[in-house]
Symmetry: C3
Subunit: 338 residues, 3 copies
C-alpha cells in the first residue's frame, strides 16, 4: 500500500546516500538509488524503503518489486541481488528516521484557527453542530450528522447518513455509509509502536489509515488506531461497544460484536460473525476464525478455528476452562471438609 | 415509563395496519389500533407498543394496560385477549423499526452552529467556559461550573453547584445538585444493543434517560449509557472512578464505589454502600446486594447477597477464591520439589 | 511540597480556632496558630496543616517543621509537644473541609468564554488549532502543535516540540519537551479519593500536579490524575498506550512501557525500563523495580524486585504461574480420560 497523501504530506525524496548520512547507516549498492516512500517488506514497490529485523528469518517473503532495504548486519545475506541497502545497528529505528524525513502527518499542519477548511467538501444535506472542525480536503456525505465539537482531520472521508457523536475525533480515516461513532470515539490516532533507541524508547511513526465499512458502530471513548503501513479495517455492520481498543493493522470481519473494554492487539484478524464478550483481550497477530465466541474476560494468546467457543486466561476451549474451574472448586471444598 | 419528549422528538402516530406495512409483519386484531409510543412489555400503557421475544416465557408479567404488541409466531398464544398484535419473524427488530418511525433523538437535529440555544435556561450564577455548547430546552443551575468545550444536549437538566469537566458530553440526562463529571465523561449515549437483522447486525435504538442523583461523581472518560425504555440511575453520593462503563438500565444505589475500569453490564442492580475494586466486571442482569465488596479484577456472573465479599473470575466468596489460589500454588510447588 | 498557586488560588488564611469552628473539631493549643496551607504529615512546614488517621501508627515520620495537625481521639498521644492540633471524629474529612476553605482549583474560575487568555504565553512558533482554549498564565513552547478543541487549564506549562491531540485536556500539569498526548487524553483531573462523611461518601480534594518529563507519550483517552498533595510523575521517554489509568501520586521511571488498559493505582512506583503488558493492574502503594516485565492481564498486589517477570492474578513469578496453568490443565484432562 502506498502512503496516502491525503493524510501524509510528502517532504521530498532521499537517496541511499542521503539516507545513510541521516541515519549513520552503511550504504551498499548504488548511492543514487532514490527513496521516495516507505512500505512493509512484502509489499514494497521500487523506491519504497522496507526493513528487515534481526536475521530477517520468519518474515513474509520480500516483494519482488523491492529495490531498497535497511537491514542489520545479521541479515546482509538475505538482501536479494540488485537491491541497494543500508546496514544499520537498529534497522527499524533507521527506517523510522527516514520515514519521518519523507512524510509528515497532515494534522500536524497549522489550521490557523479556521474551523471549516475552505477545501473541505461538506454536502449541503449534512448537519454540523457548533464547534465542529473540518480539515483540508475532508468530505462529509448527505444526511450525515456531525455533533458539536467533533474534530475531522485533513482528508478524512465520511459517507452518507452517518452519525458522529459529540467531541469525537477522526484522522487518516475513510468511513462508509451509515457509520455511527458515539461521543469521544478516537479514530485514526497513531498506534502504539515503541522501538528502543540510543537514548531510550522511541515512538514508531504510523503511515496507514483506518477504514470503517458501511453500518459500523463504534462506542463512546473507543479508540481505533491507524495502521503502521497498511490499514486497520472494520467490516460491514461490525458493532463495537464503549471503551474498546482496536490496535494498528487489525482486521475485523463483518457483523463482529466487541463488548465493552475489548482489547484487540496489533495485526489481529477476527472472522465474520464472531462475538467477543466484555473485557476480552487478544494478543497481537492472533487469528480468530468466523463465528467464534469468546467468553467475557477471556485473554486469548492463540489462534482459534471457526465456530469455536473459548474462555479463561490464558483462553482455552470453554469446556476445558469450565472443567478446570469446577475441578479446582471441588478440590478445595473437599479439602475444607477434611 | 413514557418516552421523555425533552430528549426524543415525536414523528407522528402509527396504526397496527401502517406498522404492519412498515415491517412486513402480520396484523391481528383491529387494524386501526393506534401506536403512539413504545415501552417494555411490563410497563406499557394503551397505545405503547411492546414486544415479546421467543416464546415469551420467563419474561415479566405483561402490563394490564397493554393493548398492542409485537410477537413471534411461537408467542401467539401468550397474547392476552383484546390485545391487537403484529406477528413478525424478528419481534425485537420489528419493534426497533417502529420505534424509529415514532421518535427521533433530539441531538440528531441540526444545531445551526449556535453554541448556546436561545431556549436553554442558564442561571446567571452558572459559569460557562469557552466553546461550551448547550442545546434547546436544557437548564443549568446556580453555581454550576461548565468547563470549556463541554457539549450539553437538548433538554438536559443540571442542578446547582455542579462541575462538568472539560470536553465532557451529556445527552438525555437529568442531574441533581453537586454532581461532578470529570473531563471527557460521556453521559447518555445510546447503549450497546445489537439485534440480528436480515443483512447482519442492527443497533437497537434507546429511548430512556440517565439520572445522576445529588453528589454523584463520575470519573474522566467514564461512560454511562442511557436506558433502552427505562432509565439508568446512579444513586446519591455514589462515586465512580475514571474509565468505567455503566451500561443501559443499570441501577446503582447510594454511596456505591466503582474503581477504575469497572464494567457494569445492562440492567445490573447494585445496593447501597457496595464497593467495587478496580477492573471489576458484572454480567448483565446480575443483582448485587447492599454493603457488598468485590475484590479488584473480579468477574461476577451471579447474584450476591447483602454484606458478602467476593473475588476471582468467575467470582465466588472471597475465602473460597483465596483457598483455591493458595491450594493451587501449594500443589504446584510440591510438584516442583518431587 | 507547597501548593502550587499557579493551579490553586488561595482563599485566605485560617487559625486553629476558625478551623475548629468550620469543622466542629476540638482545638488544643494556641487558638491563634495560623493555618496557611495543607500538606502530608511527613512534609509539612510551619502553618501547613497535616492529618493523622486512626492511631497514627504505621505512617511516615512527622516532619520536624510541622506545627499544626488534625487527629482523631486515638492519636492524641502521637502529637509532638508544641504542636497545636484539632481533634476530629474524622480527621481526613476535617482536613478536606479546611483544604477547601484555603484553596480553590483555578479551573473552577469563570473564563468568560475567552478562548485564549491574554495572560497565556504562547510562543509564536507554536501552532494552535481551531477551538483551542488556553487558561490564564499557561505557557506553550516553540514548535508545539495543539490540535483543535484542546483545553489547557490555567498555569499549565508545555515545553517545546510537543504534540497535543484533538480534544485532549490538561490541568495542573507541567510538561517537558517533545511530549506527545494523543486525542482525548485527560491529564491532571482530580484523583479518586473517597472518604466516608456524615451523609455518605465525600470526594477528597487534590492539590498536587502531574509532571510529564521529556519525550513522554500518552495514548488516546488515557487518564493521568494529579497528586493529592504531591505530584504524579512520568519519567523521560516512558510510553503509555491508549485507555490507561494512572492514578494520583504514581511515579513511573524512564522508558517504562504501559500497554493498553494498564491500570496503575495510587502511589505505585515503577522503576526504569519496566514493561507492563496489556490490561495489567497494580494495586495501590505497590513498588515495582526496574527492568520488570508483567505479562498481559496480570493483577499485581505485591512488590516486585528488579528484573523479575510476573504474571497471573494475583500475580506471581511467571514460571510459577505457568506451572499452575499447565498443572491444572493436566489434572482436568486426566480426569476426563478416567
Amino acid at each position: 500500500m502506498a502512503v496516502d497523501t491525503r493524510f501524509y504530506a510528502s517532504l521530498g525524496v532521499l537517496t541511499l546516500e542521503s539516507a545513510a548520512a541521516l541515519t549513520g547507516a552503511e550504504p551498499v549498492g548504488d548511492p543514487a538509488t532514490p527513496i521516495t516512500a516507505i512500505a512493509a517488506a512484502d509489499q514494497a514497490k521500487p523506491g519504497e524503503l522496507a526493513f528487515l529485523e534481526g536475521e530477517g528469518a520468519g518474515q513474509p517473503a520480500l516483494s519482488p518489486d523491492l529495490n531498497v532495504l535497511v537491514v542489520g548486519d545479521a541479515a546482509r545475506g538475505r538482501v536479494p541481488e540488485g537491491v541497494s541497502y543500508l546496514v544499520a545497528r537498529q534497522p527499524r529505528l533507521a527506517h523510522n528516521i527516514i520515514a519521518r524525513a519523507l512524510f509528515k502527518p497532515r494534522h500536524q499542519q497549522a489550521q490557523e484557527r479556521v474551523a471549516l477548511s475552505p477545501s473541505a467538501e461538506i454536502h449541503p444535506g449534512a448537519e454540523l453542530g457548533a464547534g465542529v472542525v473540518v480539515g483540508a480536503g475532508a468530505a462529509i456525505g448527505e444526511g450525515t450528522v456531525i455533533c458539536p465539537n467533533v474534530v475531522i482531520g485533513p482528508g478524512v472521508q465520511i459517507g452518507r447518513n452517518g452519525f458522529i457523536g459529540a467531541g469525537a475525533s477522526l484522522h487518516c480515516a475513510l468511513l462508509g455509509d451509515h457509520v455511527t461513532l458515539l461521543a469521544g470515539a478516537r479514530i485514526g490516532e497513531t498506534g502504539f509502536g515503541v522501538t528502543p533507541g540510543p537514548n531510550g524508547l522511541e515512538d514508531a511513526p504510523h503511515f496507514g489509515r483506518v477504514i470503517l465499512q458501511d453500518h459500523v458502530t463504534v462506542g463512546a471513548n473507543t479508540c481505533i488506531d491507524r495502521g503502521v503501513f497498511a490499514d486497520t479495517i472494520v467490516g460491514e455492520r461490525t458493532k463495537i461497544d464503549n471503551l474498546c481498543q482496536i490496535a494498528h493493522n487489525v482486521v475485523l470481519g463483518r457483523s463482529v460484536i466487541v463488548a465493552a473494554f475489548g482489547g484487540i492487539s496489533g495485526s489481529v484478524r477476527v472472522g465474520d460473525g464472531s462475538m467477543l464478550g466484555g473485557r476480552v483481550g487478544i494478543a497481537d497477530h492472533v487469528k480468530v476464525g468466523a463465528g467464534v465466541s469468546l467468553a467475557g474476560s477471556a485473554g486469548l494468546f492463540r489462534d482459534v478455528a471457526d465456530g469455536e467457543t473459548w474462555g479463561g486466561t490464558p483462553a482455552k476451549p470453554i469446556r476445558q476452562w469450565m472443567r478446570e474451574v469446577a475441578w479446582l472448586a471441588k478440590q478445595t471444598s473437599a479439602k475444607k471438609r477434611d
